[in-house]
Amino acid sequence: MTETFQLDGEDVPFAPGQSVLQAALSAGRYIPHLCYHPEFKPHGSCKVCTVKANGRTAASCTLPAQAGLNVESETGEMNDLRRTLVQMLFAEGNHFCPSCEKSGNCTLQALGSDLGVMTAGFRHFYPDRPVDASHPDFLLDFNRCILCELCVRASCEVDNKCVFALSGRGLTKHLIVNAASGKLADTDVALTDKAVSVCPVGVILKKRVGFAVPIGQRRYDQRPISEQALDDAPRPSTASGACAACEGTS
């Protein structure tokens, strides 16, 4: 008999080793999330998937599912928190949705829309983040980076290239590329890399494909993210969860 935990009053079965978020998504239950991607080991940095479990808040993507756990997710309190976290990300970077190629396909925008984010709610930081247009096939627009590390994880764990990494700390934490020049053109990134297809926002953009699908007909223009997230429910992963190169064990 499979074990279960309670999610907003209903039983959710789980397999050993699953996190609360993974089990919920497998069972067709949506918990808002951002830096989680079904093909990668969760790391829990955005905190948007925070739930209350047995009265204590925790990121559901990294919280191990346990029998008898009482999880509250669809509550005013948790959605208020998520709204604030999404607002923080909007305030931290430079996000101009109307002129962004990713508009309509952007997870941050879709989440904000779903959670009812109408304004950033905080003073914008307006950071100075120069664009890297050095590569013939890609544009890196760091203004939109939410530091979810999906490209970092994909490049290390799937592509085995480690094209992307993070440097700095605190508010100065930023994405860097694996080249002495600091330019993407000097890395071995390729069009077929997993890393270039996982960006949830508009940082890693393929050149010469701008606005191929008109705004209004894009992914999240059709249905809200909460309805579509389940289409992405856990699927087989090729990611190892660790990078041999970065660990120095390759």
Binding site: C46, M88, R123, A165, R169, K173, A180
Partner: protein
């Protein structure tokens, strides 16, 4: 250049786990980490360059911006500010003709600030290329200026500049212990000889092999002593050791580790510095006792970069202990009791005081706290069972090993056994180290250190609590005021808003940036405090601070974020008028200064008449 780099890499056996240590030595040798050095290190360790650059970019004492012969970092804790460090910084910048935070045009010198360097009892302090100089005065800065302009290598600077005092004003069972190196270990090993009644009783009942009797006996004793962690969290030490010893499964087959957390970064705390200076043998003995109890053969001391000057003396103590058979193979001729300790230096990152971030840092990575569970006791250093304890905790464990748990429990209160070493600084006649049995009142400490007209005391640093005069009868103990040791005193002349603002900047500077709420929230808190300081604050901002606190408490990844708003909320609760008198109005007030924004247009048009200004005042 490559020759020196090669020898640094060789000294660290080209091990990727040594990355931080390698970078730190490169920094020390060249006073920066050049792009070519990053390439060379990445190559030598077989790591992606971006990973090496990411680590170099995380720690604030590693610089890959530009070469600079003398890097001066003023400690910027509130206690340094109270001793006038801001004026001293301006004075030195003026003398050296440099802009604060920028390297001089000729690459000679830079002057900037860093978080508390643990010299609050003898501040203001600074670090020059990582070496601590306390008790700064204009005269000392004049001397430093001459040394810099004369391009005298730091190694040749007068020794008296670098003399650090211990300032022990009250010693108790720990600081006054009469122990000789090896006393605690001999006590522990003798427990395994079948003479110890408790061990015998257990082995008879449970069929425990003789070799384990001593280990279980000391574990039992540490548990019974009721020793709790001295780093702030107060976890029961015996339970931690036991969990580590019992950690089993596929991951436990390799190795267990003992790690001493000497990354004393909490502003206002410096007792570990004094323990490392005066009680190094006791500390290493405590670590060895732990190794014996949990079955570990390797240990690390993670020493904060600010205490760089302690590295050589500590290594000498380790060498002496090896020579005396108190470390190494077959310790005290006890067959199979092997243990050794190596020292890792940090490089300016408060968050590495969090035990899982410390372990990441030990592994040569960015100091990001891990997701827990699993905890270090089962999956610590290199995913092996690891016990991480504070310096003072290991010292106490050695005392217990020598003196027994009953004796130890007789000191302190019923719920808090033993003594606590306090780091007293701020407005008092005798700042320094005070050791008391647990249960001492704040009032007693204030009296002993010669504090007068005290307005408030910040207990356990910014992440602790701020208490006002009506709470001075509260006690230092786990059941009342738990503390890692910081005790900062503020008299009636101080403005507690400025204290809280200093702490808000501290948290923003030290946030690792991993999680959204802490990375963005701590920055928002410090800008909001600045806004209030600049006279643009409103009641709305006070409400915003409370909202940030809620978000950080609900969702931050680790304790740094959880506690970041505490100093602000504590002072807001106890000293609200100091906030309110700064508020521009009780109603909404835009932070954006519209007229100020037109200044550039006025300059460009060469106009400054009334018509070029917005009329902000009603006629």
């Amino acid at each position: 250049m490559t020759h020196e780099l090669q020898s640094i890499l060789a000294r660290h056996q080209f091990a990727p786990t040594q990355l931080l240590q390698v970078l730190r030595e490169v920094q020390e040798h060249y006073s920066w980490i050049a792009p070519e050095a990053l390439d060379y290190v990445a190559d030598g360790l077989g790591l992606p360059r971006a990973r090496v650059e990411g680590v170099a970019g995380f720690y604030s004492f590693l610089h890959s911006d530009a070469p600079c012969r003398y890097r001066l970092l003023f400690s910027d804790n509130i206690t340094d500010r109270m001793l006038g460090n801001q004026e001293l910084i301006a004075y030195l910048c003026n003398k050296l003709w440099v802009e604060r935070g920028h390297i001089s045009e000729d690459g000679l010198v830079s002057v900037d600030t860093t978080s508390c360097t643990g010299l609050c009892d003898q501040g203001p302090a600074l670090l020059v290329n990582g070496w601590a100089i306390p008790r700064l005065t204009h005269e000392r800065l004049d001397q430093i200026t001459e040394l810099i302009l004369g391009k005298t290598p730091v190694e040749q600077w007068p020794r008296e500049l670098f003399v650090i005092e211990n300032n022990i004003h009250r010693a108790d069972i720990l600081l006054d212990n009469p122990m000789e190196p090896g006393d605690a270990l001999r006590g522990v090993i003798s427990r395994g000889g079948g003479l110890e009644a408790a061990a015998n009783a257990r082995s008879w009942r449970e069929g425990i092999p003789a070799a384990e009797q001593g280990q279980l006996a000391i574990l039992d004793e540490i548990k019974k002593s009721n020793l709790r962690g001295r780093g702030g969290a107060g976890f029961t030490t015996g339970l931690k050791w036991e969990a580590c010893r019992n950690a089993s499964g596929d991951h436990a087959k390799e190795q267990r580790y003992v790690v001493c957390n000497a990354d004393e970064g909490e502003p206002g705390t410096f007792k570990d510095r004094v323990l490392l200076t005066t009680q190094a043998d006791l500390l290493f003995e405590g670590m060895t006792v732990c190794a014996y109890a949990i079955g570990a053969t390797r240990g690390f001391l993670y020493l904060r970069g600010e205490y760089r000057y302690l590295l050589e003396p500590l290594n000498e103590t380790l060498a002496r202990r090896r020579a005396a058979r108190l470390l190494g193979r077959d310790i005290l001729e006890h067959g199979g009791f092997d243990f050794d300790i190596e020292i890792h230096l940090g490089a300016g990152a408060y968050v590495c005081g969090e035990e899982s971030a410390l372990i990441e840092s030990l592994e040569g990575k960015r100091g990001i706290p891990r997701n827990r569970p699993p905890y270090p006791v089962t999956h610590g250093y290199l995913q092996q069972p690891t016990t991480v304890n504070n310096v003072e905790t290991f010292c106490a464990a050695a005392l217990i090993a020598a003196g027994g748990d009953e004796w130890y429990r007789s000191v302190g209160t019923a719920k808090s056994a033993g003594s606590k070493v306090l780091s007293v600084s701020g407005d008092c006649a005798r700042p320094g180290i005070y050791e008391y049995p647990f249960g001492v009142t704040v009032r007693q400490v204030l009296e002993d250190c010669g504090a007068e007209n005290t307005l408030a005391v910040q207990i356990s640093g910014p992440s602790g609590v701020c208490i006002a005069a009506d709470e001075f009868d509260r006690r230092i103990a786990f059941e009342d005021l738990a503390t890692a040791g910081a005790f900062m005193v503020f008299d009636a002349s101080r403005d507690m808003f400025e204290v809280a603002r200093n702490f808000a900047h501290f948290f923003a500077h030290e946030s690792c940036g991993f999680c959204t709420p802490c990375r963005v929230g701590t920055a928002m808190l410090s800008t909001t405090m600045d806004k209030i300081a600049n006279g643009h604050g409103t009641l709305y901002d006070l409400a915003e601070i409370e909202k940030l606190d809620r978000v950080l408490n609900q969702s931050a990844h680790c304790g740094l974020g959880h506690t970041a708003c505490n100093p602000t909320l504590d002072t807001l609760k106890r000293f609200r008028p100091t906030y309110e008198r700064r508020l521009k109005s009780q109603d909404f007030e835009p932070a954006f200064d519209l007229d100020g924004a037109l200044a550039a247009a006025r300059r460009m048009t060469g106009r400054d008449d009334a018509g070029a200004h917005l009329s902000t005042e009603e006629a």
